[in-house]
């Protein structure tokens, strides 16, 4: 009997069935539901595994590597931009190699449904020279995670599972397999494997290089990479990951008989691709993300001019694929019978009624009303919606923690007042180190921590700094009299404006902690 699972849930169930000792993660759309599913299973079944949220993706990755070092299996999950934060640990873990199975899920978000960019995690895996699995559907996601743990232990490397939004957040029937019991591996016997002093790192790096032919051979013979042969060789199709579904949707519908090479395991199976390209007049490659392998297959000079995809305009250069884009590329453009009427209005997301961020922005706008050049640096979370009307309150959102450090740099460059608005979870994720820089330079800067006791935008996960923010700021040297707490509420507006004005005028580092619980998590607690 199959169970209807989100791609994320299929991954989580597979990791549980693969006997993980823990999941390590920081919430990020579209990866969040993996860890939430494991947390629920842990709670309901009283499983002795780690499942609480980490402070950021780097701490998550390193802890997962520690589990692996200790001989057990670990799953580590993040969204694509989270891998930037964890990149140092990730790249170097390919050099140390692993002990217990280590599987990284990196959830990409092409079309940027909830992200700042659409970077393709397969690039990172290629950079680190580790295997990647890119499932095309939920069942394959389940199976691939089970396989990934075995593969990681076989080649002693971390294995990446690369998914995208549509797989993460779509449900389909999944058949699970019985849970395995894995005995812990002995602790690493070589004292040099994990000590990346140059003398050891060079040896480890050569070991990683020497593994590459084996990784390629595994991909060439993998059951995840299959050739579905076809009689019409006027075109050959290479379909990576979820793109395979859109291709099949169309080839079935239109009775197309092109050979299809489906790719869900990397390194890219060069020989299989070469065979297909040699046999077909032209080859169209569908990649959900960057045209990484299209570029490599074409070569810089594109002499054969046989490869089409995102680089020659057959497919759009950016954005996620869908059945219609793929249909058009296969010369079967789909028409709509009905057009969207002109009167239709956009309905962007907005801050909830009663949200504390609203009161922070109202007070902020009021307190900066007389400032000629009003520029506020902000960050990533629900409060980024303060950039939109009616607030128009912030001027930046770049990466986790950048509000504080950009405001510091602007203060160094002479901007007054220099104001940063950051959420509580973003502050502990990547804001603390920047605040320490500001303290050490005594930069004239006011940081408003809009603290709603939760990681709200991803659905209300635990915030690692809950109840600790005052002491954190005090501990890194912000003067106690300039760590001001206020209640972001409509009836406190006047008082809050006065506090803000006073701190903006201070020629040093000040922090305003504006704390009121997220109304979403509050109402959920009430229902319980």
């Amino acid at each position: 009997m199959s169970e209807l699972l989100l791609g994320d849930e299929a991954i989580a169930q597979a990791a549980l069935d693969a006997d993980i000792a823990g999941v390590y993660a920081y919430p990020g759309t579209p990866s969040t539901e993996i860890t939430e599913y494991i947390q629920k299973a842990k709670h309901v079944q009283k499983l002795p595994i780690h499942a609480s949220w980490c402070t950021n993706e780097k701490t998550a990755y390193e802890a997962a590597l520690g589990v692996s070092y200790a001989g057990k299996r670990a799953l580590v999950c993040m969204k694509h931009v989270g891998l930037n934060v964890a990149a140092d640990a990730f790249i170097n873990s390919a050099v140390t190699g692993t002990n217990g199975g280590l599987v990284l899920v990196s959830a990409d978000d092409p079309s940027m449904h909830s992200s700042q960019d659409e970077q393709d995690s397969r690039f990172y895996a290629k950079f680190a020279m580790i295997p990647v699995l890119e499932p095309s559907n939920q069942q394959e996601a389940y199976d691939a995670v089970r396989y990934a743990f075995d593969l990681s232990e076989e080649v002693k490397l971390p294995v990446m599972l690369r998914i995208t939004t549509r797989l993460a957040h779509s449900r389909a029937g999944v058949v699970t397999k019985p849970k395995v019991q894995v005995s812990p591996k002995p602790l690493p016997s070589s004292i040099s494997q994990f000590v990346l002093l140059p003398v050891n790192a060079r040896k480890q790096y050569k070991l990683l290089l020497s593994l590459q032919p084996k990784l390629l051979e595994l991909a060439e013979t993998s059951s995840y990479n299959i050739l579905e042969d076809g009689t019409d060789t006027s075109l050959g199709i290479i379909a990576c990951g979820i793109a395979y579904n859109y291709v099949k949707e169309n080839t079935e519908k239109f009775g197309l008989k092109y050979p299809i090479l489906k790719i869900s395991q990397y390194p890219f199976p060069e020989k299989s691709a070469k065979d297909l390209i040699d046999r077909c007049k032209r080859v169209l490659i569908f990649e959900e993300g960057y045209p990484i392998y299209e570029e490599l297959l074409r070569g810089l000079l594109n002499r054969e001019q046989k490869i089409s995809g995102r680089l020659d305009g057959t497919l759009p250069r950016d954005g996620e694929l869908n059945p219609d884009i793929v249909a058009a590329a296969l010369n079967h453009p789909q028409q709509s019978s009905f057009a969207t009427p002109e009167l239709l209005a956009g309905r962007p997301p907005q801050l909830c009624n009663g949200c504390s961020h609203r009161d922070v922005y109202e007070a902020l706008n009021e307190s900066l009303k007389d400032v000629k050049e009003k520029h506020v640096f902000s960050d990533i979370g629900c409060y980024t919606l303060g950039a939109l009307p009616p607030f128009n309150a912030i001027n930046t959102c770049v990466d986790m923690g950048a509000s504080i450090t950009m405001a510091k740099g602007a203060a160094d460059a002479g901007l007054r007042p220099a104001v940063a608005v950051i959420g509580d979870s973003t502050f502990t994720h990547s804001g603390i180190t920047g605040l320490l820089d500001a303290v050490n330079d005594n930069s004239p800067l006011t940081v408003i921590i809009s603290d709603n006791d939760t990681t709200a935008m991803t659905g209300g996960q635990d915030s690692p700094g809950n109840g600790k923010l005052f002491n954190i700021c005090k501990g890194i040297g912000v003067k106690e009299e300039h760590i001001v707490k206020l209640l972001p509420h409509r009836n406190q507006l006047e008082k809050n404006v006065a506090v803000m004005k006073q701190e903006f005028a201070y020629e040093g580092v000040s922090v305003i902690i504006a704390n009121r619980e997220c109304i979403q998590t509050a109402s959920r607690k009430k229902k319980k």
Binding site: T29, H113, H169, P323, P341, L344, A345, P348
Partner: protein, 203 residues
């Protein structure tokens, strides 16, 4: 696949777009349909929207049900058999997905959380231009059933007339979805489903 050597057996297939505004419970409509479809041994794929747009923005779910394997998680343009919406304007957003003989089944409820909400009579007029549509006063029907929050189940009831799945399986889906709530909640939602089915009857 071929019953008499010539004619392909008719495929059972429903491509449904469920639309609304974040917070209206559109994923519950999908969840009940999922349950009922699985009970009938059908294939299901259901793409959801999570993350930022759930904050009062436009939300949609692509729900595909078929008696044979489904490849794409997303419905192709011009292919949706039904667009069901818990808000009056929202179905218009997905019109390019509607098949030539597809149905728009929408609530007349208005969610005016944007400053430039269009004229209601103009929205209604553009829906009435379509070949197949149903306008359902889900707010009144839900309130009569016991709770204004059951509008989503009214809309599910309204489209049940267009779907080859027994209504009793949808009822079981509601019982399953609200299993942890008290029986009053289940009864209210069952009543909302029935009211929607009556209001959405195809003459």
């Amino acid at each position: 696949m071929y019953s008499n050597g010539f004619q392909k057996e008719k495929e059972m297939k429903h491509d449904i777009i469920v639309a609304g505004v974040g917070g209206q419970g559109i994923l519950s409509i999908a969840a009940v349909l999922d349950f009922a479809a699985l009970k009938n041994n059908l294939y299901v794929k259901q793409a959801e929207v999570h993350g930022m747009s759930q904050r009062g923005g436009a939300v949609e779910s692509h729900l595909r049900i078929s008696d044979r394997p489904i490849y794409s998680d997303l419905i192709p343009r011009g292919n949706a058999d039904i667009i069901v919406s818990v808000e009056l304007m929202e179905p218009l957003r997905y019109l390019p997905f509607l098949s030539p003989d597809g149905w728009i089944v929408t609530s007349t409820t208005i969610e005016k959380n944007i400053p430039n909400y269009p004229d209601v009579s103009e929205i209604t007029a553009s829906i009435q231009k379509l070949p197949h549509y149903k306008l359902i006063d889900s707010e009144t029907l839900a309130r009569n059933a016991g709770s204004a929050r059951a509008e989503n189940m009214v809309m599910l009831g309204a489209i049940s007339n267009l779907i080859d799945i027994p209504i009793t399986d949808l009822e079981d889906g509601i019982r399953f979805l609200f299993a942890k709530k008290d029986t009053k909640v289940v009864e209210t939602n069952l009543a909302a489903l029935a009211a929607g089915k009556a209001a959405g009857a195809i003459s």
